[in-house]
Amino acid sequence: MIAAEDRLRDLLVRGQAGDAAAYRVFLQELTAHLRAFLRRRLSGLPDEVEDLVQEALLAVHNQRHTYDAGQPLTAWLHAIARYKLVDLLRRRARGDALNDSLDDAAEFLAAADSDAADARRDVAKLLATLPDRQRLAIVHMKLTGLSVAETARLTGMSESAVKVNVHRGLKTLAEKMRSEA
């Protein structure tokens, strides 16, 4: 677990510095830990697990600038996953679905689950409901994989506007996940 913590921390810190390849591995490994954590605690709502995995991944992504390399990564990840889980249960008014303690941050990386269920909510459909500038910036940069410069040329936005719209679009997406769930 210490090894997993150090390894993931290294990947995330590199990701914060702009290393997209390291960041991708970080998110892939994180997905399995998130799924194990959420599946165990959402046994009353099994259909919601994969949706919440995606919502928590987006939360980690949108908040990745708040991780301080001096703090335990496990605690940071656990706090975000727990926050999203409690938020969902509150929306469902399902305190009873909590049949497992939420406070064992240390165990967060102990379990992994790579058996993905189908998500009920389709993120692609949600993306289509974003404001045009945000949607186009995300589609070109993050789905097609174009560079900032290419996206800027295609959309007629400035390069900084492209970055801002990707950032805002992912925040809007998080809001939509929250409110439609």
């Binding site: 960041y23 892939q28 997905t31 940071w76 706090a79 993050k142």
Partner: protein, 213 residues
């Protein structure tokens, strides 16, 4: 969209993030809030004319130190409660420490005072306006701190809102010391603390709505 596709979307084309940006925003909010609260105090309430003379009295500096300690505890609370997974166990004890110290001092002052003086020590000349003035001065600071905290990701929203209110109230109290004529510990222990607790309670109430993400 499958989760692995979504991960790919998130990872593709990611840029470096500025990990110091939220802390800078917090410092800017505190400094800006302090300046605005002080200007508001000067325009609305006036700096006390006898301020220079009061600065010779030890109790004036005890009062300043008390407010600075409250501000420090508030800043600590805001910093800790803004970041997911940060250790938050010492937030409340640290905020309570200066208040407890002032209460102890107040008890000693009241114990040695003549019984007929005690009411004056508690009420001073401005007990009806003090908590209200501090709470009003804290409003711009509270707005600035909440804005800064929204750049972070607080996960205990009620405590985070209370921390924002406490820090704002403490900064409001510090600004108010330049106007306020009171120097007795029992007064500070009750009315200053009330002035700081009003925005703290308001923060705890509105925190979940203002800070969720």
């Amino acid at each position: 969209m499958r989760t692995d596709e979504f991960v790919s979307l998130l990872a593709t084309g990611t840029d470096a993030v500025d990990v110091r940006a939220p802390a800078r925003r917090c410092v800017a909010a505190m400094v800006g809030g302090t300046v605005v609260a002080t200007i508001l105090m000067a325009l609305w309430l006036d700096v006390r004319p006898t301020l220079a003379r009061d600065a010779n009295l030890p109790m004036f500096w005890v009062k300043e130190l008390f407010c600075v300690a409250l501000v420090a505890a508030g800043v600590f609370a805001v910093a800790r409660l803004s970041r997911p997974g940060a250790a938050v166990g010492r937030v409340e004890p640290l905020a309570g420490a200066p208040i407890l110290a002032m209460w102890l001092l107040a008890v000693v002052v009241l114990a040695v005072a003549e019984p007929e003086d005690r009411t004056d020590l508690i009420r001073g000349v401005s007990w009806t306006e003090c908590p209200y003035n501090i709470a009003v001065l804290s409003v711009p600071v509270f707005v600035a701190i909440v804005w800064a905290m929204r750049g972070f990701a607080p996960t205990h929203l009620r405590r985070a809102g209370a921390a924002a209110g406490f820090a704002a109230g403490a900064i409001g109290a510090l600004a108010y010391t330049l106007h306020c004529p009171e120097l007795d510990a029992p007064f500070l222990a009750i009315w200053y603390v009330a002035g700081v607790l009003i925005p703290s309670v308001v923060g705890a109430i509105v925190g979940p709505r203002l800070l969720r993400w």
